[in-house]
Symmetry: C2
Subunit: 287 residues, 2 copies
């Protein structure tokens, strides 16, 4: 017997993954959630028919969204993650020595429950006492922090770990959200978001790049190779009024990355720097 | 009407590309050849059911296999390409200012004919008077040059632009072939080959890396992002008794790369260097 899961990644391109069994399938209030056991990638989380991650390859996305922004900040103590209910980015954030508190705002509590059950190695830090989980709308949450204006509520780093810009995550790709996020950051804060494929989503990357450049003095795009995502190449857009995210902050000059390395399968000092070196065709997008 | 082409990239993972029309389909003496017109990628060449390249993305593979080895060689005048009957690597080689002569040894003449007809922008330099096309077995050819021992027949750079290690290209991934290739190089020559996906072909990359390290004093693996190839991340293995392929040779210190840049969609001075920076999980493969 051969069972295959198909994902239409664009209208005209897709992937197929051979499935051993369907471990979970349910419609939550926000989306369709499925967990497959697969021969190629181990367990795979699928939201609204799009692969989010697999046991075998989740390290790339989670390390790169979590660690690049944090290690370019001098002392990232308070972190906000929008989305990311699986806990992968939370797990990575704790590899930074300064992190004291993480707010995780995931609209769909079901994603958290499913991850704890089927992906314990990814969700492993969700019950850490330094983590506060809020099952609510990230847009509303960030607007509240922005308009509240209380400095002690603001964040050193805000990470947008969203699904694609259709369905529940649509509003996370809009200018008013990016502006509110800037208002929820401390003056020297860093913002970073996953921003889709440079091969398939050129217009989206261009538009977001423009907005982030207008909001922040320093902005940049960085890349990582993720096999189960459309085209296999993924982009992240970062902005800050103070820090250059391309550079590891000097506060880590004596930090023992090598001690972390058995735990880091993708990220390293060298990868941090080189992930910002863009092929000419991607530089063209940002012009 | 929806028509899709499916490629099984591993036994348990594959891609699908929506097809507008089938422009060509024939069995040559060596393989099945198809040309599709597709909505996502333009025209696509498929050999034995595996996508070789598309109009839209061919630049990555061809620039990176052609330019990285050539620009790390002081003065690459005589080039040998095994496979690559489409002409993409030939086209890129001529962007190096020193190239005087290219021997292209493609076992399947039909691939050359099909490329000239359907991919004129890729095959555009195949009729250049500095190119000699030999429709014969690359392994036999290289063994002849090796055993002939005539210095003036040997090459500055040998590039292996092969299909996957099944079918006609199988012998291009074996130790005796790599040893013969070393014998067909000048003393300071550079060898480079496409060596599949670091996500899906770890053992192959490890084995070839070991052989190349044993043959050459200097060897290295470099990477490029290619959407239509398995996992989207591709590897190339290079070796030389003299040159470090990670470094652009100082003979190009005054070379006007910027003048080339409208023509270079992926490769640049910076990409040359950074394509050798490997994520930890790939460093592990090579240990």
């Amino acid at each position: 017997m051969e069972t295959w899961f198909f994902e239409n990644q664009t209208g005209n391109f897709g992937i197929k993954i051979r499935v051993e069994s369907i471990l979970f399938h349910e419609h939550s209030d926000y989306q369709e959630i499925a967990v497959y056991d697969t021969l190629e990638f181990g367990k795979v989380l699928v939201l609204d028919k799009a692969v989010m991650f697999s046991d075998k390859n989740e390290f790339v996305y989670h390390e790169m969204l979590g660690l690049v922004p944090l290690f370019s900040h001098k002392k990232p103590e308070r972190i906000l993650i929008i989305g990311g209910g699986d806990g992968g980015v939370v797990r990575e954030c704790f590899k930074n020595p300064f992190v004291k508190h993480i707010d995780l705002v995931e609209i769909d509590k079901k994603v958290i429950d499913v991850s704890k059950k089927f992906f314990p190695e990814i969700a492993c830090k969700l019950d850490d006492e330094r983590v506060r989980i809020l099952a609510e709308d990230g847009i509303e949450f960030i607007k509240r922090v922005d308009s509240g204006g209380r400095e002690e509520e603001k964040y050193d780093v805000i990470l947008i770990d969203s699904t694609d810009p259709v369905g529940p995550a649509e509003g996370l790709f809009r200018r008013d959200f990016y502006e509110a996020a800037a208002g929820a950051l401390k003056a020297d804060g860093i913002f970073a978001a996953q921003t889709e494929s440079p091969f398939f989503n050129k217009n989206l990357i261009k538009d977001i790049g423009k907005i982030i450049r207008e909001i922040y003095e320093k902005s940049s795009l960085y890349l990582a190779s993720i096999p189960v995502y459309p085209s296999g190449l993924w982009s992240f857009t970062a902005g800050s009024k103070k820090y250059d995210t391309k550079v590891i902050n000097e506060s880590y000059n004596n930090f023992n990355f090598t001690g972390l390395e058995s735990d880091l399968k993708y990220y390293s000092r060298e990868i941090h720097r080189t992930s910002f070196i863009l092929p000419n065709f991607i530089k063209e997008i940002l012009k």
